[in-house]
């Protein structure tokens, strides 16, 4: 069991999707505690990768691929957790690129790094309308909403989303982080966002700050923070 967890950890680290999914299934079938799989196997690997990235030893293609494997394995574990009346104890962040903007690379990097930092991330994709953001906040009740815009032409849409949230009475329910090349701290203040991040590492820092310093919303530590 220890060994299996180690293999899972290793498979996530090197983004070996087949091996990671296989190990996850094997552990679940063997009756391992889904929370242990999630935290000691999956999240700890992401955490380690995040640290390697911080040290300049891991590179983005590796981090992004591992985050994807992490997400897929997490989806396998989810039903087992639910069957025990539990759910992921991580803070949820919803993220997306605003309407009219087809750039999602920066947003994808932020999503991947957030996963290494232990957040549960729902990525709504690109060209996301204000209505869809509002709907997602209403249904999923995330702690944080991240709005990405790369273009001077589309950053206005960040304002539209924040106004739509207010219109739906949801603004107090969620912290909004805005980012993207043309976005500035001043713009964030102007449109009433809660925070601004200039780059992906800062987005992680800011997100952690908004949830009080740890991405795990209580429950076992397991290196997820």
């Amino acid at each position: 069991m220890e060994d299996d967890l180690k293999s899972l950890h290793e498979a996530v680290l090197v983004a070996d999707e087949d091996a990671a999914l296989k190990e996850t299934r094997r552990l679940l079938e063997a009756g391992a505690d889904p929370r242990t799989i999630l935290e000691t196997g999956l999240a700890a690997a992401m955490f380690e990768l995040g640290q390697r990235w911080n040290r300049g030893e891991a590179f983005l293609p590796e981090v992004v691929a591992a985050a994807d494997v992490f997400r897929l394995c997490g989806e396998l574990v989810e039903p087992a957790l639910a069957a025990r009346g539990e759910k992921q104890a991580r803070h949820l962040m919803v993220i997306g690129t605003v309407k009219g903007d087809l750039h999602d690379l920066g947003k994808n990097i932020v999503a991947a790094l957030l996963r290494t930092a232990g957040f549960e991330v729902r990525d709504l994709g690109k060209d996301v309308s204000a209505e869809r953001f509002v709907e997602a906040v209403r249904e999923l009740r995330p702690k944080i909403l991240g709005l990405s815009a790369l273009l001077t032409t589309t950053m206005l849409e960040q304002k539209t989303v924040i106004e739509a949230l207010a219109g739906a009475g949801l603004r107090p329910a969620v912290k909004v982080i805005v980012g993207g090349a043309p976005v500035t701290a001043q713009w964030a203040r102007e449109i009433g966002a809660d925070a601004y991040a200039a780059n992906a590492p800062q987005a992680i820092e800011v997100a952690l700050g908004l949830v009080g310093g740890a991405a795990s919303g209580g429950g076992g530590g397991g290196g997820g923070g």
Binding site: F59, L60, L102, T152
Partner: protein, 485 residues
Amino acid sequence: MAEMEGLRVLSESEIAEIHEAALAVLAECGVFVDSPRALEHLAAKGATVDSATGRVRIPPALVEGALGGCPSWFTLYDRDGGEAFRVGGREIHFATGSCAIRYQEGREVRPSLAEDLVRLAVVTDALPQVEVQSTAVVAGEAPKTLADTYRLYLVLKHSPKPVITGAFSEKGLFDMMALLGAATGSRTGEAPCAIFDVCPSPPLKWTAISAANVMDAAAARLPVEFVSMPMPGAASPVTLAGSVVVHTAETLSGIVLAQTVRRGAPVVWGGAPVGFDMRYGTTPLSAVEATLIAVATAQMGKHYGLPTHTYAALSDAKVLDAQAGAETALSGALAALARINLIAGVGALDFVGTQSSEKLVLDAEVCGMIQRALRGVEVSPETLARDLIKGLGPGGDYLSQKHTRGHFRSETCVPGLVIDRLDRKGWEGKGGLDASARAKERVAAILADHRPRTLEPERAGKLDAAMRRVMAYAGCESLPFVGEG
């Protein structure tokens, strides 16, 4: 004099392979166009359009036909109707970098304001090596909805040099056309003094605004510069050849859109290749492989017989330091050796997010050196100076010769004071300043002394009126520098 051969990184057969690959991408995969209007138009012109998914597949014949309609050069004018130069052929011209949102003085960086753009216009105007200005920074005072038009207003008002610019919305392009008409007194599309950058969204996508800008600018015969931005390993294949294929496919799709709206509309085969740093996720424009892509894509453009452009002669450094100088000179020289007609980026730092007048005056010196290098070595009886050498013999003194007086100005690139050529004592006597401090002094001197040619009063009045109409529409009462008329 031997014409200096252009730098080539692709062989003729490799160019053909890239062309075939790009045609296959366009025919079999196509591009995504987020504009019902453009989709309808392209379907009517023979593209295979899936309006549900926005996917446009373009048959090779449509591409070849569109390429056949593009002019191989056009004349760019200044604001006051004077011919500036031809865009195309082997000439190269440097332009200020555009699209920055910050202005930097020394180490101080701030969100850019109208006065900063005016400074950049005046400084560019004073630098003969930089023949094209750009709407280099956004002016923070302007509401976002008219930020594009206000940028153009400011530069038209403060320098007659031709402009590289771009619209931020569909309406913006028309507002900008109105400003250009007022400032130049010419009809839209005649004697153009502005080139419009339009960017596809990598990879293989066109936003509604970009698609509309291409169509509307082409209809008005405004020169459109396609600025595809391959990003190896992130938004295009990590292999440089694959990135060139994506760039070629994107640019060809833009040309099809423009030429099917108006055959013969002037277009520029441009680009802003970037690197993608796998550690930080940043997009360095001065990564050496980005410059290689620029050279390769320009070879494609030249193969199609089109005027070419790239971002180069810029740096991703955050201050005016050794990195800034090295990156600017290396990418600028490689782009120039490739004979890329418009090299835009001068003055830019920090992933083109920041503009600096200090960097601009230093870069201008680099541009001057590059232009001199491209002129090469002129060989003629007069320059060989056989008789002079024989006449003076061993130990001859050339300094006092008429031959020297007659030729030193054309043979030598004499740099400005930003480039230090004093002896050590002289340098120490001048305060021992480094390049960045000397650049600061040069900028101060230009701003104190240089007066660009002013806009003729009647046209200035019309320009103000046009700007005020745009402001009134946006409910904006006043902006810096906009006259009351």
